[in-house]
Each structure stands twice: as C-alpha cells, then as structure tokens.
Symmetry: C2
Subunit: 333 residues, 2 copies
C-alpha cells in the first residue's frame, strides 16, 4: 500500500476516510494501546500535567512557544510537562502522562509538526533505568502493532524489519563515538556540534538499521537540568533515541538533583539567555528549584514523540503521514 | 482523610506531595486506566484530533474560547474534538480520543476548571447505544478504583455509595420529567430553561442518589448538530449524565445526519448567531457539513469530563481537589 498521498497537509478531508487512512489509524491505535498497557503493567502511574503554563512548560527552544493571553497573564502552550511530572517525584516511584506538545515552527516540512502527542515518563533512578523503560515501551508499541496488524504491515513491506527491531536490543553509542564514526565522511562534525537528521540516519545505518540510542551529549547543547556526568564534566547523562526513517523520537536524561549545580546550570543555559532578554528571571523557576532543593532525589525521565514512532513503524519519509490532522504553520482544521 | 486543603488553587506546590495528594493521584490513575482499558475492550479505536483548531473546535459557548495566533491565522484552543472524530465515522465503527478541553471562564469557582481532560467517544448508532457505552465506561472507571484503592476510598467514606453506583443501573429521566419533578419546589423552572447545578443535584437526590441521565433537552439550548426527535420536534436526542457531588459530567447526543436539517439548525443556533457577529459563516463549517452530506450515517457520541467523574468518586464539594494543577483564570503553574 502506498501512503504518499499523505505527504502533505492539503485536502485532508478528502483522504482521511480512505483505505490508507484506515491502515494508519489502526496502526496508531495499536501503538498507543501498546504504550498505555505497557506503562501500566510496568508500574507507571498516570498523572495530569498542565498544558497552558508559565515559562516552565518550555523546552530548550523558547522561540517556538505559542503565546496565549490567560486573563492578562502571559501563558504558553506547553512543549513538555517534564518539570510538572518531576515536581511529583517525591511522592511516586514512576509516573507517566501524555500531552499535546506545541512547537510554533514556521517552516512546514516533512519532519516537524506544530503539535504532536508526547508520552512523558519520569521515575526515580538513573539514565540506564530510563533507557530500559524507553526500549521496553517502544518495543511494546511495535509488538502490539505486529500482533494486531500483521497483514497491514506486510502490505507496507514493514514486517521483517519490525520483527527484528523488537527481537534485537536497540543499538547504543555515545555522542563522542558518533563524532568518531562520522569522521572522514561527508557527515563529519566537530565535537560540540548538534547532530543533523542526515547525520543521525547515517549513524542508524552504521549501527544495524534499527533504533539507536545516542548518549552523553555535550552539556552546552542540552536542556539545563540534565545531570552532568561525574567522570566527564563536558557531557550530560542524557540520550536521544534515533529511529530509522523519522530520526530523534525520544529525549531522555537524568535530572540534576544537586540544587547549587542546578541553579548554576540554569543561569548559564542558552534557554535562560534567551529568556533573560524577555524579562524572565530565576524566580520564574522557583517552584521547581525549591522542589529539588527540598527533595534531592535522583530521577530520570523522557518524552517519546508518538508521531516519530508511528512514522518509523509505517516506514514513511514524511511525518504528515502519521496523523489525520497534521498541524503546520500554513494549515488549521 | 480530609481533602479540603485542595479546595483552592493557592500554594499548590506545598500540598501536591502530601499523603492526600497521593490518594488523589492513585484514584485518578485507576479511573483513567479503567476508562482506557474499558474503551479498548469495547472495541473503540483511539484516534488523534487537533486541539489548536478553527472555529469547529468550539462548543456552544464561543465566548469562552482561548484565542491563539497561528502564524497570522486565527486559531482557538479546542473545547471538543467532536467534529473531528465525527469526520472519521465513515471509516470506523467506534472511536475514542482524549483531549485537554479549554474553557476561558473568567470566574474561578468550585465547579469549573479552565482546562480539563475530556474523554470523547463517537460511534455508529443511536442515543441508547451511546448511553450504554457511557454507563459502561463510568462504571469501569469506578470499578477500577474500587479494585485497587478500597482502603483509600473507605478512608474517605466513599465505599458503600460507590459499590451501589456500579451495581445498580444509572437513573434515567427526560428533561420534561425533570421539569415536572421540580414543579412546586424551590427549584421550579419553566420548560425550556436550562438546569442549574442546584436543580441537577435536587434531581439526583430524588432519583436515588446515584448517577442520573437526563435526556431529550429542548432543542434551543443544545449544540446545533444534536439530532431532533422525530416524535417531538421541540427536543433533541441528547442526554447529560449528572453525577452526585459534581453535576454535569457528560454530554451525549445523536448527531443530525440529515444534511438539509443540519445546515438549517446551524444557521438557527445561538452559537451561530454569536459567530456571525465575529464574521464567521457557514463556510467555516464546510468540511464537516460536506462529510455529513456525503455520508449520512446515524452516529452518536459524548464527552466525559474526567475531573467531574473524579470529584464524584472522591465525594468532594470542589473540582479543584481532583488535579494537582487546577487551572483557573487567576492562576498558572
């Protein structure tokens, strides 16, 4: 079956009731149920987080925030519920939530949606624990799709590859190893640069054409509360999950639980520099910082971008194939 | 256990990690899982709907829309995904989704949140079918809480009542019967008036102190696409589920599937009168109307307000007890 007619936001109401749409809906339903069921069985508690927030609902790139007037207060559409989940860590071992993450990206392309379902996990424990839980969750999603829609996946030519992904362990390299692997190729980068999606896909191919964790990124290019590595001060205990076809699908990290370091990191972060220009101060993060000061518990978490997983399972080149109503800057429904 | 300290939005970060918060989180986790599990087992497919929308994301009261600038286009935070779920009815028997419903209410009170989790169902079939599915879903939610948190519910004094609610059928009356029941009491209303929450709770008490469906409301006070009753032209095939303590928790209806009638109803609706003043026309509903014209399939649906169910299970007088981060006009997190 050919899904290329979904590689656009145009004329959506003409195509969302065809056979291709049914296949996509069915796969998504299985993927979502696979995640929900797995997280419950693994002991994660669902909690609600706010999605109309103060600045603490932002990811690194605060330029892509949607602004909302909340009765005279400046509010934003949340990009992540991470800090609100973290604020509940003193009370629970493992938490999850699902939000619509909003990113006001002004370039409509095949890789980014302005809104997407984000499954967020947070639990007590270290990076290795959250990576195990991400791998478990993504595999549970794919297994559910294989279980319920084998024929559909076969019609897309996806069966053999997906079976292999759930059987084999996901590949793992560090960011520093990634830089080494790219050396001497057309994708060469300098240590400290962020990875482009072309570079990510090159690495995926090099490491077995399956989901790939890249860990221990340079501190400077990552979110302020990612915990620094004790052996190598330049990197943080973080990892991105790179999926074949769709690229970065999950960002994960240990959270800095040393209050003094956390405040220092916040002040030095790129995000904070951008926020300072808009009049924001450390006070805007006070509730979160206080929680860490009072409860310096080692914890880790992640956000799994549902559409990136879906795209990878479908094996398409365009993220707009993954949802009936893909929101980009030039369209609304 | 006493939950009254949650009857406010003040100082939330001081109370969300106490024992009372743990109890509330646990109950909510069970309620949510009860719903997710039940809907999957009952054959409902999860699909994603947009929550940053055109005017077709609005409920009746368009004055309570949050406005968002979407790259020069006027967008709104969705109040319901109903029309987007309905647009998928030609393809599927039964659909569900969960969204954050946004209502820009400017009065902070004990009954309304500006954002809340809304579980939406839509399926082929009539009003009686959707009522059966609502009752099944709400009972599954409560059963899951009883199964997993019996002691906690006992500590709130909720055990006996909740056991009775899941055992007995929900009560059912028509709107016209409700008007009769209120006659001669301090709650008396005229036929055609909407019911206040005090009137709803009076009716709940009269009908056995358990969840109560009130059906067949006057056409004039309900959403434009609720299907008219064939025997009585003045009412629509709709029902609200009134829960003890929290009130209206679910709105449900058959959807008008006669294209001509639907367009007529839209034009005559209060909502449309309000929208006309803002320059909106029938064209803004074109995609939805075309779907009905091409696929005049009888279908029905509902939206279950999660926090209203939670409040009723907890047995509290204040909806702010049901969530860690209750959003109202005077607060953000």
């Amino acid at each position: 079956m050919d899904l290329t007619k979904f590689n656009t936001t145009k004329n959506r109401f003409d195509i969302i009731n065809g056979e291709e749409a049914k296949l996509i809906d069915n796969i998504n339903d299985s993927l979502m149920w696979g995640a929900m069921q797995h997280l419950r069985m693994a002991g994660f508690k669902w909690v609600e987080v706010p999605t109309l927030t103060k600045i603490t609902g932002a990811c690194e790139n605060v330029d892509t925030l949607y602004h909302v007037n909340h009765f005279g207060q400046e509010a934003y559409l949340a990009q992540t519920g991470q800090l609100y989940l973290e604020a509940k860590i003193p009370l629970h071992e493992k938490l999850w939530t699902i939000i619509v993450s909003s990113r006001a990206e002004d370039r409509p392309d095949s890789r980014h949606l302005n809104q997407f379902q984000l499954i967020e996990l947070e639990h007590k424990g270290a990076l290795k624990d959250i990576l195990m839980n991400i791998e478990g969750t993504v595999k549970a999603m794919i297994k559910q799709a294989l279980l319920e829609h084998k024929d559909a996946l076969e019609s897309l030519g996806r069966l053999d590859e997906l079976k292999r992904w759930v059987k084999e362990p996901f590949a793992r390299i560090t960011y520093t190893q990634a830089v080494e692997l790219l050396k001497g190729t057309e994708h060469e980068i300098e240590w400290g640069d962020d990875l482009s999606s072309a570079q990510e896909q090159y690495l995926v191919k090099k490491k077995g054409n399956k989901p790939l964790f890249i860990s221990h990124f340079p501190k400077a290019i990552k979110f302020f509360n990612m915990k620094g590595n004790l052996k190598d001060d330049k990197v943080v205990n973080s990892a991105d999950l790179i999926m074949p076809y769709s690229g970065e699908s999950t960002g994960a990290a240990e959270r800095e639980n040393d209050y003094e370091k956390l405040v220092e990191r916040l002040k030095q972060s790129n995000m904070f520099r951008m926020l300072s220009k808009r009049g924001k101060t450390v006070e805007d993060f006070r509730d979160y910082l206080e929680m860490v000061r009072k409860n310096p518990i080692l914890h880790s978490g992640c956000g799994i971008g549902f559409s990136r997983i879906s795209q990878s399972v479908l094996g398409t080149s365009d993220i707009r194939t993954t949802t009936n109503y893909p929101i980009q800057c030039d369209v609304l429904y």
